[in-house]
Amino acid sequence: MFVPEIQLSLNSVDKTYYGKKIEAAVRAVKNLSLQISKGEIVALLGSSGCGKTSTLRMIAGFEDVTGGTIQLSNRDIHQLPPAKRNVAMAFEGYSLYPPLTVRDNIAFALKAERISRSESDAKVMEMAKFLEIEEILDKYPSSISAGQQQRASLARALVRKADLYLLDEPMGQLEPQLRSVLRVRLKQYLQEHQMTTVLVTHDQTEANALADRIAVMEDGELQQFESPTQLKHRPANIYVGTFIGEPPMNTFAAEVKPIGKGFQFQLEEAGEILDYQNVDFPKSLRDQLIKHRRIVLGLRPHAVKLGKGALKAQVISNQWLGDQSHIAAEFANRIVVAVSHQREAFKLDENVPFHLEASDIHFFNAENGNAIAHGLEI
């Protein structure tokens, strides 16, 4: 629960890395503007090279901004050195001090706060329990594993009182099981203490689990900045639509052709046709689709309903993962992935009927990838 008071503001931030030649300049972040509220958890998400790490480093003060400004708690920080920004961070290169034990590394972060020794000890202990590193508190950084080092770094960042917390792939070194558990705890902790947090990750599962809002970036540009639910249900473009969600969204390029009292989506390269009646869609949406003519249909795996329907696909794999099944089948010259929440008996090479609900389809403009409509809503 957060108070809608702006804590961190990025205004038209630009970052260009200059090489020896003018042509070698790389524009890593392009005109980025974000407003983050107090107590909000925001994830910067994208594949490598998208600009998310450059952005985090500019907020921290490890990189200059080439253009634009950054405000934290209503003061300009983009020209201040890192130590003067009141920002706590857990970054990959920002490791623990080798000559101090893990305990002392974490406690060091509290030295600037005027609290008693016993209070400091208690905070360190609470943090260690929460991140499951009590056993290594009295060890030195050189003798603990990468995963333990990462948790100790995280403890050091979170234990402080700061205006902002910056986390760079905070759980990248941890095993899947531990990550799962710590994610839930981390989210609870950040929410309970109302800590404004910006984290960088390439893992959309992590971003979805932790963030109140996710800023999806690609090629230095902000694609969409909304809640995980919004990104999932109303992706702004094909990039966001296929990046968010695992298994990824199925996409089909199609041409829209009005036919009599209905219209068809003729799937490219496939000879497959999806027929719809005019009444299946609201007129405004129909008009939009016919106007664009060349579109891309997006279908999330759970929207591919196997078992009955007019369409047919040939099963190429049926993998049961304990709590869900992932079934891949060939349809319209490509692989379609469906998810089911139970075990399915489909055999390899079996021809399986399936259907789709119009309300589950995401429509994108084939020219620029932008969303036209989600389900029956524009």
Partner: protein, 362 residues
Amino acid sequence: MATLQVDRITKKFKTDVVLDEVSFEAEEGETLVIFGPSGSGKTVLLRVIAGVYEPEEGKVVLQGHDMTDVAPEHRDVGMAFQNFALFPHFSARENIASPLTALGKSDSQIEEQVLSIAKLLKIEHVLEHFPRALSNGQKQRTALARALVAAPKTVLLDDPLRNVDAKLRFEMRLELPRLLRRFGSTVLYVTQDYREAMALADRIAVLVGGKIAQFDTPESIYLRPSSIEVAKLFGEPAINILRGQVNDEANRVSVNQNQFILPKGFHNNAGSICDIGIRPESIRLFREKRAGTISLEVITITPLNERSVVLLRSQEGLELLATYPAEEKTAKIGDPFWGMVVPEDLLLFEIESGQRCLPKQN
């Protein structure tokens, strides 16, 4: 006769016992996954099978022959590792050709086989590139092509999808079984990702602390784990483990004041204190009270791809993680629910040993 046998392999580094009497076998054409947490000895095991490390005890038998005195290059084994390990000064084509060159094949044969596998793995358009110009996905496929090109009887894959981005990893998880089946080789595949293990394996050898904790089909391991340790390694979010007491009639188990229905067959455990395992997907949530349910309140909700994860707490302080299909329900923090566990899905574990209690049919 099993085409691959690992017989009581023990491997030590100084005084550290990294592999402790590891035994399992694989049939021809089987994909056997070696799965376990980091540090469990998976890579060392693969290297022993490859012949790169010599075990202190035990033997490796391939196609009926004891490999103890056989050098790696004569074991008819293809390998691919997680750091790709491509020769930086060879093009992709030359990398893939290297096992064939080593076997003394003719130029035209090599050309044909390399092109054939490159097409299969969709990398024929980058064959002339050097590793530094290849993307991670292309490097991974090149390494895989190199491992498979000589159609070896045994293929060893050490976490080949680890350094590959999520989307490509998912695609490969779907394509790999089909690809490997075409070659008919016996495949040993190492991974830390339980989903990858379940998706790819005919059988899984679960390696924990250098020992085989369970060796069975994915289904058996998931539904009937041999121990708490194995149970915790499979499933996301991890299985809920609670300490409880079985009642005298052995039909209920209590955790504090909350009760869960026990399936039949546990009369041997009547009255005992046990650890109970409840998988998040085994919890059924209802908006209204029903027989056998306990009252729960929603504490946090987290989306997890196609499912939603909800942390619930009972009035008595019992906390449970449950999941349900994301398209069902819209729960909010503070919502009340009535929850129960499907009795057949409840797992019981002994406290001392961590071993699963087996229900007895009488």
